[in-house]
C-alpha cells in the first residue's frame, strides 16, 4: 500500500473508536439532559434551578461527560469533514493539533463556567 494511503489511516483507529464511544455517551446523556431540562423544567430554568440539579453528583457527572464527550465528538467530526477536503500529510497533523488545543481549552473554560455550581 502506498505510504500516503497508510498515513491517512495511521492513528485513525483509536479516534474512530472514541467517536463511537462518545456517540453512545451522547445518545444516553442527551436523552437524560433534554428530557429533564426541556420536558420537566421548561419555564423554570434559572441559575438556582441549575444549581439545585447540579448539586447532585449524578447531574454533575452527566453535564461534565456531555461537555467532554460533546467536544471530542464535535471536533473529531469536524476533522472527519475537513479530511474530505484535501487535508493530507503534515496539514492533517497541524489540523489535529489545533483541534486538540480548541477542545482542551473549551473543556477547561466549560468546567470553569460550571465551577460555582459544582462547588456550591
Amino acid at each position: 500500500m502506498r505510504r500516503d494511503v497508510i498515513e491517512t489511516h495511521a492513528g485513525g483507529m483509536w479516534l474512530w473508536l472514541l467517536q463511537r464511544v462518545t456517540a453512545v455517551v451522547l445518545v444516553v446523556g442527551l436523552a437524560v439532559h433534554l428530557i429533564v431540562l426541556h420536558a420537566f423544567n421548561l419555564g423554570d430554568l434559572s441559575y438556582d434551578n441549575v444549581a439545585a440539579r447540579v448539586a447532585s453528583w449524578f447531574f454533575a457527572a452527566v453535564d461534565l461527560s456531555l461537555l467532554g464527550a460533546g467536544l471530542f465528538h464535535a471536533l473529531n467530526g469536524t476533522r472527519m469533514v475537513l479530511l474530505d477536503y484535501g487535508f493530507t500529510g503534515s496539514n492533517r497533523r497541524v489540523l489535529a493539533a489545533v483541534l486538540w488545543v480548541v477542545g482542551v481549552v473549551s473543556f477547561a473554560y466549560g468546567t470553569w463556567a460550571l465551577w460555582p455550581w459544582l462547588t456550591a
Binding site: 456517540a23 441549575v50 469536524t78 463556567a113 460555582p116
Partner: protein, 130 residues
Amino acid sequence: MSDKNRETANVGAGLWKGVGMWAWLFHRVSGLVLVLYLFAHIAVISQARLRGAAGFDTLFKTLESPFFVILDLALIAAVLYHGLNGVRVLLFDLGVGIRQHKSLWWAAVAGGVASLAVFAVISFTFIAQG
C-alpha cells in the same frame, strides 16, 4: 446496463435516488449545525459565571421567548436525526442490519418524527401559556 450507462447513472440525480446519500448528507449537515450549537451553548451557559445569577436569569427570560423556543425545536430535530441515524451507523459498524439499511433509515426518521412531535406539543403548550 452497459458500462457507459452504469457510469452516468451514478452521477447527478442518479446518485441521489437512494436514501443512503441523503442519510449521509443530513448526518453531515446536522452534525455541523450541532458543532456550532455546542459552542454557542458553552458561550451562553458560561454567562452564569461571567454575569452572575441575576444576569443569567435575565438572559434566560430572553431565551424563553417563542422565537428561541422554536429554534430549540429545530435543534431537537437536528439532535434526534443525528442521534438516531448515528445509532444506525453504530449498528452497521457492529455488522448488524447492513442489508436492511434503507428500512432502518426510515425507522430512524419515523422515530425522530414521533419524538419531535412530543417535544413540539411541549414547546407549543409552553408558548401558548406565555
